[in-house]
Amino acid sequence: MSILRVEDLTRTYSSGGRDLTVLHGVSFAIEPGDTFSIVGPSGSGKTTLLGLCAGLDRATSGSVYLNDIRLDTLNEDQRAAIRNQYVGFIFQNFQLLPTLTALENVMVPLELRGEKGAKQTAQSLLERVGLGQRGHHYPTQLSGGEQQRVSLARAFANRPKILFADEPTGNLDTDTSATVIDLLFELNREAGTTLVLVTHDLDLAAKTNRIIRIKGGTMANG
């Protein structure tokens, strides 16, 4: 059974009366525990694909199965519940809630599920990413690298089956990038999570088991 299966996915945007097809009949499948990267030049449709896989967006045609649940038949709130249950996210610009402290940011997915002991779990995750002492700080009081580490802790908080990362180092300098990437792969190994990584950095892509290339909205090879 695949954790993620994509069949003949097409996404067309219509803006100003003109249709723009961003993705063209993309299909692939990922097995549980696999690490996987999507590479391609800027504007090739990587983020669009990621959004569809994670159930943030709806395809124009084709279908996405996440943990064997067909996403395109669900409404937005149902997909939100699926995300909370199975999916973790890491974004290029961190996307921490500015009004919450680091600790509270990590607690959100746990609390959304109504889990007990959210605070302890979140605290130990922060310690795991080396920010045990910074829990009470707000995102604006943290550097970019630190923010991304908080967002790593948050992504693993609900023990997701699959983790999506969109250019996780895109906003970081080289040294910080290396630390964050090491941490990401380490955590991923420990948790045995499936990882889908979007990047245009080929060195980074090389750290995953499989690579698919996208160009102009179509898959270059499997």
Partner: protein
């Protein structure tokens, strides 16, 4: 759903914006304060009326009448109660010989220990005892009259043939609001001297009254029940403490209810401010909502987090408002001062506070819901790519539900306050129209300014104008909110002027503006001479005969027909076909002539005439229908002892808005000439001096003749309107201040945006002074547009009032409007600058470092 998590998130998320959230909610504080104040005051007033009910009447019971009762009835009157006081009252000219002041006043001859309850506030207090001893010719005079006549205690006042020493100044008579003394100021004298004044002649409008005191604990209503019907039939009015309490309570209950609607307008204005502030707040929160949604929160959960925040802030705002309102109500007895018949004890009103808080929370949440609903539609995709995603997706049918709820709430509130569904509908409709018209006017003005603004103007001017159109601007909301305040105030001024000009108009041109009445037949030649001596015209001279109605088509009052005495329901049940009972107890003042006069128009049938020995009279149109009679019916009158049968020959429409003697019933000439009668004479005086001169002559030669002139009516009206509009202005003030609060919160909300703009300008080389100028002009312009839309709307409103309701030519006094416009503009400018001081003070570097 995980409710406690929602609360936690609402709490955490608010930590960094709590001050701002409170600022949004501060917009409702004043509305709630006004509402709680007026409702608390209403509660306290009702309670005070309850507690001091006996003081309203000054006695346990009063009986009053205007025509001399029969011997048997007189015996009945003197057999009631434990103690009684007697009062004879009539209007007459009074004068102060020392100052030469003359004025129409109410003269009351008193005998006995009035008042039995309540405090008769007289300066000096000892004067009351002197007065009650009645062994000297002394008078107690209302303060208002002393002031108008330039007199004081120690002077003497002349009533007809006699002079009285003014022993005391009456500040307040129990049961009477101070304003009553403005309308009909009173001179009290011991009754035993009244006959000597020579004023109690036939034809004067004299009324008599007994004040009764009963043994403590007597059930007065029960005690008089057996004689009630006899009294009623004899034309004697009964007034018990319970009656008076009911009347007063109802009058003031209505007043406070309507004023609470004025307060509600301030609250709604604040809510519009809340909605627009929350809208900005939501825009700011869209990114956070997208993150929450990505992490798996549902749209409803996300919305509830922010709804909770606003509800809690609404609760805090409403509570602050309720506390403030409870304090403000302490001042209301002063504000209403001269209208109150009793002293109001102010205490905290728990129901008013609770309902105020409830109303505040509900209405602010309903208004905040409008922008908050869009949170449900925020797409999680924004976390990946904000550039392409619209903040919120298009139309939402739930918005209509929110609008519907708001409307329903407003109607519901108005109904709850007034218990009048139709009124509630009109109120809501009026509000919707006022808000939309004001919005349309402000939109139009803003558009005009933009179109007409010369591109050649200096940079500073162009930049400040451009600021009014910045993205997310709140220009229309602000112009509407502040404009509504200006509208309320301007309308008050204009309407007051309109009412006065309507009265002025009634005496313009060659219309009479002074009426002399109670002239006896033998005095008429002398009075004519006195008028001519002053070189004044005699514009009209009318005979007046007083009579009573004894039957309509041979049927007399239902009360007269033999019926068992103890059937109160029988008489209470309104017999809609027979003649109404009041028709037989009132006094009819009629005149006789063969033609109609300029203030009359024939409606149907013919004017008064005689034919075949029948007397055909003319009856005023509306009065005829109240009599439940029709043309051709017979009316039987008793003309001071002599029966006289008449037939209704026609109806007239009468314009009552002139200084004219208008009559409900007009007889033909040739019938009443020999009946006892008095005359009314109308003239036109050019100025107050002439008027005073004529009145002095009349007082010395014909003391029983009274005079009233338009100048006096105008002055009285002006004073009353001034008092009323002070009360309304006090309530409207809350709306204006709310508008300014909405302005402050909007300035603070847009601070970050302004900060960046001003820094950018400074980096590009603008001086601090230029930025100050830009800000000042921007707010000055905003305030000016607001004032202008408010004033324009109010001119349009009062113009239609003048044109279609009052039917007077419209002219406005520009000065008050100018004052309103300047005040609003300057206030707006100052508040704008004050709240922007931060922006002006920051150094550009601070902002670039990201400390903004």
């Amino acid at each position: 759903m995980n409710t406690s998590w929602l609360f936690k998130m609402a709490w955490r998320d608010s930590r960094r914006s709590r001050q701002r959230l409170l600022l949004f909610m501060s917009a409702i504080v004043l509305g709630i304060a006004a509402l709680v104040a007026i409702n608390s005051f209403g509660d306290n007033l009702a309670r005070s009326i309850d507690e001091q009910a006996r003081e309203l009447l000054g006695a346990d019971l009063t009986l009053s009448w205007s025509r001399t009762p029969t011997k048997r009835i007189q015996r009945l009157l003197t057999s009631i109660g434990q103690d009684r006081a007697y009062e004879v009252a009539f209007p007459s000219l009074v004068s102060i010989p020392r100052t030469g002041g003359v004025r129409l006043a109410q003269v009351k001859g008193l005998e006995g220990r009035f008042p039995y309850y309540g405090d008769w506030e007289v300066e000096p207090r000892s004067a009351i005892a002197t007065f009650r001893r009645a062994d000297q010719q002394v008078a107690l005079v209302d303060d208002a009259l002393l002031v108008q006549l330039g007199a004081q205690p120690g002077d003497s006042v002349r009533l007809g043939e006699l002079s009285f020493l003014i022993a005391g100044r009456v500040e307040k008579t129990p049961g009477q609001a101070a304003i009553a003394a403005t309308v009909a100021p009173t001179v009290f004298v011991p009754n035993r001297y009244l006959a000597g004044t020579g004023l109690l002649q036939r034809g004067s409008r004299v009324s008599y009254k007994y004040y009764y005191q009963f043994a403590p604990g007597t059930d007065v209503a029960r005690a008089i029940r057996p004689v009630e019907r006899r009294l009623e039939r004899a034309g004697i009015n009964t007034d018990t403490v319970a009656d008076r309490k009911r009347q007063t309570g109802r009058a003031f209950g209505d007043l406070t209810k309507y004023l609470s609607l004025v307060a509600f307008v301030a609250l709604l204005l604040g809510c519009v401010g809340v909605a627009s502030a929350v809208q900005l707040y939501v825009k700011e929160k869209v990114a956070s909502v997208a993150i929450l949604r990505t992490l798996g929160a549902s749209g409803r959960q996300a919305m509830l987090i922010y709804l909770l925040q606003t509800a809690i802030m609404g609760l805090i705002g409403a509570t602050i408002g309720a506390v403030l309102g409870s304090v403000v109500q302490l001042a209301l007895p002063q504000v209403f001062g001269r209208f109150l018949p009793i002293a109001v004890q102010t205490t905290l009103s728990v129901p008013a506070v609770m309902s105020g808080i409830g109303t505040g929370v509900l209405i602010s949440v309903l208004f905040a819901l409008l922008p908050l609903l869009s949170i449900r539609k925020v797409s999680p995709l924004r976390t990946l790519r904000s550039a392409y995603e619209a903040d919120t997706a298009g139309r939402d049918p739930l918005r209509w539900l929110a609008y519907g709820l708001i409307l329903a709430f407003i109607i519901g509130f108005a109904y709850w306050q007034t218990r009048n569904l139709q009124l509630a509908g009109w109120f809501t409709g009026g509000l919707v129209v006022a808000f939309s018209v004001l919005t349309a006017v402000s939109l139009g003005l803003i558009w005009l300014v933009r179109r007409l603004f010369p591109t050649a103007w200096s940079y500073v001017w162009r930049q400040s104008l451009a600021n009014l159109y910045r993205p997310n601007n709140q220009t229309v909301i602000l112009v509407t909110a502040i404009g509504l305040g200006a509208f309320l105030i301007a309308t008050l001024y204009l309407t007051q002027g309109l009412l006065l000009s309507r009265v002025e108009l009634s005496g313009s041109g060659q219309q009479p503006n002074m009426v002399l009445f109670d002239i006896q037949n033998e005095q008429i030649a002398g009075v004519r001479d006195a008028v001519r001596e002053q070189k004044l015209p005699i514009l009209q001279e009318v005979p007046v005969v007083t009579m009573r109605l004894t039957g309509i088509n041979g049927r007399s009052s239902a009360a007269d027909t033999a019926k068992p005495i103890d059937q109160p329901q029988q008489s209470a049940r309104t017999d809609t076909t027979g003649p109404p009972p009041w028709a037989f107890t009132r006094e009819y003042r009629v005149t006789y002539r063969d033609s109609l006069i300029s203030s009359e128009k024939p409606a149907s049938g013919q004017g008064p005439y005689q034919a075949n020995g029948n007397v055909y009279i003319s009856v005023e149109k509306d009065f005829l229908s109240r009599l439940r009679a029709k043309i051709g019916d017979t009316l039987d009158f008793n003309v001071q002892g002599l029966p006289l049968q008449t037939i209704i020959g026609g109806t007239r429409e009468v314009d009552w808005n002139r200084v004219q003697t208008n009559f409900l019933v007009v007889f033909p000439a040739g019938v009443l000439e020999q009946a006892p009668q008095f005359r009314v004479l109308m003239t036109r005086v050019p100025d107050n001096q002439t008027s005073a001169r004529l009145q002095r002559v009349l007082v010395s030669r014909f003391p029983n003749v009274s005079a009233i002139d338009l100048g006096l009516i105008l002055k009285t009206l002006d004073e009353i309107l001034g008092q009323i509009s002070f009360v309304i202005r006090f309530m409207a003030l809350f709306s204006i201040l709310t508008g300014l609060l909405v302005l402050s919160s909007s300035v603070v909300l847009s601070k970050y945006q302004r900060l960046r703009e001003s820094v950018l300008l400074r980096t590009l080389g603008a001086s601090r002074k230029q930025i100050l100028q830009i800000t000042a002009i921007e707010y000055g312009l905003l305030g000016f547009l607001a004032a202008l839309s408010g004033i324009l709307l109010s001119i349009a409103g009062t113009w239609s009032l003048a044109r279609f309701v009052f039917e007077v030519p419209y002219q406005i006094d520009p000065l008050p409007l100018l004052v309103v416009a300047t005040t609003v503009t300057v206030l707006t400018l100052l508040i704008g600058l004050f709240n922007s001081r931060d922006v002006l003070a920051r150094s550009p570097l601070d902002v670039l470092r990201g400390k903004g």
